[in-house]
């Protein structure tokens, strides 16, 4: 009986904290994205790129984000594993991580005119099938920042 109560308390608490944290994170991301709206990323995949203008600087820019769902999200996803389907609780987590990583990359390229050939990678940091592990995801965004003279 005590176990059930404890579980419910933990679930309720992490649901509340998780919701608040996620809402704030999304607001933060939106604000930064709107601020950076005039810094384009260009993705054309070509290995060779030509321009007539004189280039001042070309550099590698990266942005990383390690993100994990809260206890409640992990719990719901774990239950959903039994029946299958979209793990909607993790979708928002992944979305936050990806946008955060891209934002960091773009913020790092401050002063550059644009970023070309941006790529996104994701890595599982933790073994999901371990007993005590928490699903964590590292998302890395990288690209080449080009600054004109």
């Amino acid at each position: 009986m005590g176990d059930v109560l404890l579980l419910l308390i933990i679930l309720g608490f992490t649901f509340m904290t998780g919701t608040i944290i996620e809402k704030r994170h999304f607001e933060n991301i939106k604000k930064r994205e709107i601020a950076l709206i005039k810094k384009p990323i260009i993705n054309f995949g070509a290995k060779k790129w030509d321009t007539n203008r004189k280039i001042k600087k070309i550099e590698l820019v990266t942005g990383e984000c390690v993100i994990s769902g809260d206890y409640f999200k992990n719990f719901v996803a774990g239950l959903k594993n039994l029946f299958g389907g979209r793990l909607t609780t993790f979708e928002s987590v992944l979305d936050r991580g990806r946008r955060e990583a891209i934002l960091k990359m773009r913020e790092k390229a401050r002063g550059a005119n644009f970023i070309i050939n941006a790529r996104i990678e994701s890595v599982m940091l933790n073994d999901t099938y371990g007993q005590e592990s928490v699903p964590q995801c590292a998302i890395i965004a990288y690209g080449t920042a080009v600054t004109y003279e």
């Binding site: 709206i37 999200k73 719990f75 594993n81 029946f83 909607t88 992944l94 979305d95």
Partner: protein, 261 residues
């Protein structure tokens, strides 16, 4: 950058298609309810199978299983005082009344050092009465009812039934939840509650059994009614907490006993 494009970007930022629109909380409740229903059905199934085979089991098999499972269970207190001798006399009156109780355990009686009012029987037939109960209850009829209730559990083979049910459910749920911690956790929580509801059904049966025994011995069931009235006085838990308790609520048990009359 032209104005239109900027607006388009802004709308993309505001309207996020990558995130599912479903509410995590409703999803959680639907999933838990689904799993609860599945495991409730599983319990009924395990219950039916267990009862079917255990009711048809021979006495020798029962003894074999009991001896295998109660290895190492030894009572801590073994002092013989007046109370115990009184209880032993009552036991010797009850046992000849039922064939299911004869030729099995000797039903030794022990006192258990605890203040709560309680009595219980172990799988190999040791009966324990708490100190609180022995100091509170002196009336022989009431003690007969309690003793008959515990012996009723034994006569109905309730200990074996709940054991078999636990084994079946644990087996199936471990297949279901292989490698998934959360399902294990949820199933554990749900099955805790379901296990209790089942044992309450057993409690009701044991109450009926004890009622019949008291009738046979004394011709009325005043002892049972008195016992429940005493419990009702001591109890403070509200009735809606019933689902979490091992026994049916006292007023329900009292009603049941009075209906039997």
């Amino acid at each position: 950058m032209n104005k239109n494009l900027e607006e388009k970007y802004l709308s993309v930022i505001e309207d996020n298609v990558n995130v599912g629109s479903s509410n995590a909380l409703t999803e959680f409740f639907i999933l838990v309810a689904g799993i609860a229903v599945i495991f409730f059905l599983l319990y009924m199934f395990a219950d039916a199978i267990g009862s079917f085979f255990i009711d048809r089991m021979s006495n020798e098999t029962q003894m074999k299983i009991e001896n295998a499972f109660s290895f190492g269970i030894k009572p801590q207190v073994s002092t013989k005082n007046e109370n115990i001798i009184k209880l032993e006399n009552i036991r010797d009156k009850i046992v000849p009344l039922d064939k299911n109780l004869q030729g099995k355990s000797k039903f030794p009686i022990y006192e258990y050092p605890e203040k709560q009012i309680n009595a219980f029987i172990t799988p190999n037939g040791n009966i324990f009465f708490t100190q609180g109960l022995l100091t509170e209850v002196k009336d022989e009829k009431v003690l007969t009812f309690i003793m008959a209730h515990e012996l009723g559990h034994y006569a109905h083979r309730d200990h074996l039934k709940s054991m078999s049910r636990q084994i079946i459910v644990a087996l199936i749920s471990s297949i279901f939840a292989s490698g998934n911690n959360n399902i294990d956790l949820t199933v554990g929580s749900i099955s805790d509650l379901n296990g209790l509801t089942y044992s309450r059904k057993q409690e009701r049966e044991a109450d009926k059994y004890a009622n019949q025994i008291v009738y046979k011995l004394y011709g009325n069931n005043k002892g049972a009614v008195e016992f429940f009235k005493l419990l009702e006085k001591k109890e403070k838990a509200p009735e809606f907490l019933q689902y979490f308790s091992t026994h049916p609520s006292t007023s329900q048990r009292l009603k049941l006993i009075q209906q039997e009359r």
